[in-house]
C-alpha cells in the first residue's frame, strides 16, 4: 500500500483509477481482516459506487480544465465513534448495536467534501474507553506485528488497518492517547491535534474537555494534509477555534537547525522498557545530527496525570453517556415502567469498562466527594497545563516516549483495570493541557515490535511538530517497515 501522497499523485497523473485503488483496498481487507479484525463494518458496494463516481468526476474536471477536490477517489477508514451518515456507528458498544446516524461528523463531512471515500468503520474500545481495543463489545483487534498482542487503543482498529496496509489512512480520536499509543504499538504515524482545532461535532462524546479527532497515516506528510482539510471553526461545535488553518504541505525546512527540543526527565522513569528508552534516545541523536538542539526539561506534575485524567474523563463520561437509555437509539430492555427501562437497558448493554468508568465518574461528582475528587483534579489539571506553558518558554518542542512499553499481550491486564490505566501516563498530559502531539515509529524492540516517539508542541503548533517528524522520516526508514503478515503481499 502506497502513502496518501503517492496515491493522490497516481490518481492525478491518471496512472490509477479510484475504482482500482478502492478495489485493491477492499481486497486487502478481505484477505487480512479475518486475522486482524480491524473493521467492524465494511461498505464495499457504496465504496465502489463512490469510486466510479469519483473517476467520472475526475474525467469531467479534466475536460473542463478544472481542479478536482484534493482527495477525490481516495479510500479512507473511520473509527467507529465518529458519526457517518447512513453507515452503522456502534462506538464498539452493544448499546449502539443497530445505530445508523442521520448525519456526518464535521470531520467526516469535510473529508467527503474533499472527495474521500469511506470503505468502513474501525474497531475501538467501547466508547473509546481503553488502551488495547480489548474493551470492544465486538472482539479484540490483533496487532499486525504479532497477532497475539494488542494494537493499543482506543483507535486500535484504525492503527492496525494502516499498519497492515489495508487502507492508506484512517481517522481516530484521542482523549487520553487513543491515537498516539496505538500508532506507537502498530508502527504508524498518529496525530492528535490541539484541542479545539478540529470540530468534535458528530464525535460521540466521551470526555468533552479532552476529546480530539486525529488521524493515522504512514507519514507525517500525509497527516499534515488531513489536518489541513479537517481543521477550522464549525458553528456546530462551540469549542472549535477560529484560527488560521495549518498549511497543506510541509515546506521551507531542510533540517532541524534552530529547533530546540526538550526531553522531560519525568518520562524516563524506572517503569520504562529499556528498548523504548534506547530507541527514543537514538531518535534524538538523529535529530541532533539534523541540527536540533536537545536539552533536558521538566514537567514536574507528570505523575499526577493518571489520577487527574481518570477523575475528569470519567466525570465527563458519566454525564455524556446519560443519553444512552434505550429511548432514542439502541436496543431497549423490556420493563413495565420507564424508570426500569433505563436501569435495565444500561445494565445489560454497557460493557464492564464503560460501567466502571461511569461509576467512578458518578462517584467523583457525587455530593460530599465533588470537591475532594473532581474539584481537586481540575486544580491539578491547571498545574499540569502550567508545566507545559513553562517548558515551552524554554523549548520549541517536547520529545518523549509514547508508552512505557511496546505492545502487550492480549489479556495481560485483564481483571486489573488500574494496571492498564497506569500505561497511559505519557499520553494523558497532552490531553489535559490541550497541546498537540504526533507519534511516529523510531525503532523496534528485541521481539520486533514497533516503538514510537511523540513530539508535543504549544497550542496550534501542529505544523512545527509534523515538520520535525517529516524531516526525521526523510532521514530514516522506520516508518517504511511492514509487518511479516504482509510478506509476499
Amino acid at each position: 500500500m502506497q502513502t496518501v501522497a503517492q496515491i493522490l499523485h497516481a490518481l492525478q497523473a491518471g496512472e490509477i483509477s479510484s475504482r482500482e485503488i478502492t478495489a485493491d483496498v477492499l481486497a486487502r481487507i478481505e484477505r487480512l481482516d479475518p486475522q486482524v479484525h480491524a473493521f467492524l463494518t465494511v461498505t464495499p458496494e457504496a465504496a465502489l459506487q463512490a469510486a466510479a463516481e469519483a473517476d467520472r468526476q475526475r474525467l469531467a474536471a479534466r475536460r473542463a480544465g478544472q481542479t478536482p477536490p484534493p482527495l477525490l477517489g481516495l479510500p479512507l477508514a473511520v473509527k467507529d465513534v465518529l458519526s457517518t451518515r447512513g453507515i452503522r456507528t456502534t462506538c464498539g458498544s452493544r448499546i449502539l448495536d443497530n445505530y445508523i446516524p442521520p448525519f456526518d461528523a464535521t470531520a467526516v463531512q469535510r473529508l467527503k467534501a474533499a472527495g474521500a471515500i469511506i470503505v468502513g468503520k474501525t474497531n475501538t474500545d467501547e466508547f473509546a474507553m481503553g488502551s488495547s481495543t480489548e474493551n470492544s463489545a465486538y472482539g479484540v483487534t490483533h496487532n499486525p506485528w504479532d497477532l497475539e498482542r494488542v494494537p493499543g487503543g482506543s483507535s486500535g482498529g484504525s492503527a492496525a488497518a494502516v499498519a497492515a496496509r489495508m487502507v492508506p489512512v484512517a481517522l481516530g480520536t484521542d482523549t487520553g492517547g487513543s491515537v498516539r499509543q496505538p500508532a506507537s504499538f502498530c508502527g504508524v504515524t498518529g496525530l492528535k491535534p490541539t484541542y479545539g482545532r478540529i470540530s468534535r461535532y458528530g464525535l460521540i462524546a466521551y470526555g468533552s474537555s479532552l476529546d480530539t479527532v486525529g488521524v493515522l497515516t504512514q507519514t507525517a506528510e500525509d497527516a499534515a494534509l488531513f489536518l489541513h482539510l479537517m481543521a477550522g471553526q464549525d458553528p456546530l461545535d462551540a469549542t472549535s477555534m477560529d484560527v488560521p488553518r495549518p498549511p497543506q504541505r510541509l515546506e521551507g525546512r531542510e533540517d532541524l537547525r534552530g529547533l530546540k527540543i526538550g526531553v522531560p526527565r519525568e518520562y524516563f522513569t524506572e517503569g520504562i522498557q529499556p528498548a523504548v528508552a534506547r530507541a527514543v534516545h537514538a531518535a534524538l541523536d538523529v535529530m541532533a545530527d539534523l541540527g536540533a538542539a536537545i536539552e533536558e526539561t521538566s514537567l514536574p506534575h507528570t505523575e499526577y496525570a493518571v489520577p487527574v485524567y481518570y477523575l475528569i474523563a470519567t466525570a465527563e463520561a458519566s454525564a455524556n453517556l446519560a443519553r444512552f437509555d434505550g429511548i432514542r437509539y439502541g436496543p431497549r430492555a423490556q420493563a413495565e415502567q420507564m424508570w426500569d427501562v433505563f436501569f435495565r437497558t444500561r445494565g445489560q448493554y454497557f460493557g464492564p469498562e464503560v460501567k466502571r468508568r461511569i461509576m467512578l465518574g458518578t462517584y467523583a461528582l457525587s455530593a460530599g466527594y465533588y470537591d475532594a475528587y473532581y474539584g481537586q483534579a481540575q486544580k491539578v489539571r491547571t498545574l499540569i497545563k502550567r508545566d507545559f506553558e513553562e517548558a515551552f518558554e524554554q523549548v520549541d518542542l517536547i520529545a518523549a516516549p509514547v508508552a512505557p512499553t511496546t505492545a502487550f499481550r492480549i489479556g495481560q491486564h485483564s481483571g486489573d483495570p488500574l494496571s492498564m490505566y497506569l500505561e497511559d501516563v505519557f499520553t494523558l498530559p497532552a490531553n489535559l493541557s490541550g497541546v498537540p502531539g504526533v507519534s511516529f515509529p523510531v525503532g523496534f524492540d528485541d521481539l520486533g515490535l514497533p516503538i514510537g516517539m511523540q513530539l508535543m508542541g504549544p497550542h496550534f503548533q501542529e505544523t512545527r511538530l509534523l515538520h520535525a517528524a517529516h524531516i526525521y522520516q526523510q532521514a530514516t526508514d522506520w516508518h517504511r517497515h511492514q509487518p511479516d503478515l504482509l510478506a509476499g503481499d
Partner: protein, 98 residues
Amino acid sequence: MSLTREEVIHIAQLARLELTDEEIERYREQLSAVLDHVARLQGLDTSGIPPTASVLPPRTVLREDEPRPALPRAEVLANAADAQDGQFRVPPVFGERE
C-alpha cells in the same frame, strides 16, 4: 479507601445502572483500588490554584438565532426501539422503582 457494598449500590443508583451481585462485588474491589491511587492528589497543595474546566481561552460563541432544517424525522425515528405517529414511544413514566 475501601468502598462498602452499600456505597457501590448508591453510586449505581445515581448512574442508573442495574448491576448483578457479582458486578457489585467486582466494582467494589476495582473502584476501591482506583480510589486508592487517585488519593495521591489529596497530598498536593492547590490553595490559590484555579480549576481548569477548559484549556481554551474563555470566550462566548454567539450565532444568529435563525431557523434551519432539523434532522430528517424518519431517519431519526428509525433508530428508536419503539416509535409511533412520528414520535418516540415509551412505557409509562409515572410510578416508583421498586
